[in-house]
Subunit: 227 residues, 2 copies
DNA sequence: GTCTATAATACGATAGAC
DNA sequence: GTCTATCGTATTATAGAC
């Protein structure tokens, strides 16, 4: 149908259409895996969402599981970054509210990534055992020590940092994973810019109070105070 | 295989084995739907989990979608109950911590129900539009007015009650839906009684602080303070 | 009511023409 | 590199013997 690189082998500069097709397939796959998970997704659905024949998916990614792996891997890179603002020298309130903001940004701009991840966890995380038991565990352990240090210094309330992370993940990812529920309760078709900022402000304020850091105005002046 | 009610139509007292088989199938279905959702689950898996031939599932429940509906309906009844402790005359701290405890009990004792629900929301909730847009919305609206009243009386921090609910659901359901992640981070095969109590105490304490009600000892004396 | 055998379809994957 | 046609299998659902 298209004209640019038909009938030959060598693509434009080198592999340009290959990359284009791969990302196109990956995006379509993310969308389909997000809704129905690995087991529920079909290659036909993904092919249709990508606007390509089914055979091309197999040409580029082999099996359905390999395509799924590729999607998951891309998500994990995104996932591990967010904690980087929690450093020993940071101001606790700024670090934690920054982390919450980053997680809310993810929920807003990459909701499908969050949903794929959620589906994978719901099905017992057969493709993520290494990630969970090695990368994530170590990351949480390291960041928990930092937070424990802040607690020991009396700079925030005494709490188990691991449970703090569980709660933060739950609070922020719910805005992506269960968006349909939130939209139904809020009676909107989709959350506006203002609604996202208000949601973020609510979560940040709640978390800071929950961490016992409510007093000093939460750094980046949340806009949702006057309601 | 069994002997009690073979070869005839009329069952023991009346429909006893019918009820037994139905609940047996429903439990098996809940387990399978919890892991892979409606699209990913197969009738063969459910039949094997129930220890019955595939045909019996169709005999009792018709189609896969009807079986799914039956599972979902049972869950919704459970789901709507929990908010009942939030009443105008309640003490705010007791009401909210009671609600959190109830949600944590659900996560602990009915994790599969929570997962089925999560899967349904992830796939866009095609079977729950009425529930979300009518029952849940009204329930949240009613309870939000109560909480807004407490806020107006200065008995808790100023926050949007709807977002409070989103956060509470996220924080508590994560202990069921993403249990595999929590187990990996905590380095345990399964959460012990003590671990569940500590998790609950952490969430309750965090929520009460988040709601600006940290001072007066949170009613049922959490056991996790000395760590 | 129960369960085996099977019909009808959907799915993952590939061969092979272009 | 692309895409149609197709193979083998797995799936939902049912017929029909017991």
């Amino acid at each position: 149908m298209n004209n640019s690189a038909a009938s030959g082998a060598a693509p434009a500069p080198r592999g340009r259409i290959r990359r284009e097709n791969e990302t196109r397939i990956l995006e379509a796959a993310e969308r389909v895996f997000a809704e129905t998970g690995l087991a529920g997704a079909t290659m036909a659905q993904i092919a249709q969402a990508a606007g390509l024949p089914k055979a091309n998916l197999h040409y580029y990614f082999g099996t359905k599981e390999q395509l799924y792996q590729a999607v998951l891997t891309g998500i994990l890179e995104l996932w591990l970054d967010a904690t980087d603002m929690i450093r020993p020298e940071s101001d606790p309130a700024e670090a934690i509210s920054g982390y919450v903001r980053a997680k809310m940004r993810h929920s807003r701009h990459r909701p499908l990534a969050s949903k794929v991840f959620a589906n994978e966890l719901l099905s017992g995380a057969p493709f993520l055992t290494d990630y969970l038991e090695i990368d994530l565990r170590k990351r949480v352990e390291a960041k928990s020590r930092i937070i424990a240090g802040w607690i020991a210094e009396g700079r925030m309330a005494a709490l188990d940092p691991r449970h703090l992370f569980f709660m933060l993940w739950g609070m922020t990812q719910t805005y992506a994973d269960f968006a349909v529920q939130i939209r139904a309760v809020m009676e909107v078709e989709s959350l506006s810019d203002a609604a996202w900022e208000e949601a973020t402000a609510e979560v940040v304020a709640f978390v800071l109070r929950g961490c016992g850091m409510s007093t000093s105005a939460a750094s980046a002046a949340p806009a949702g105070a006057a309601r």
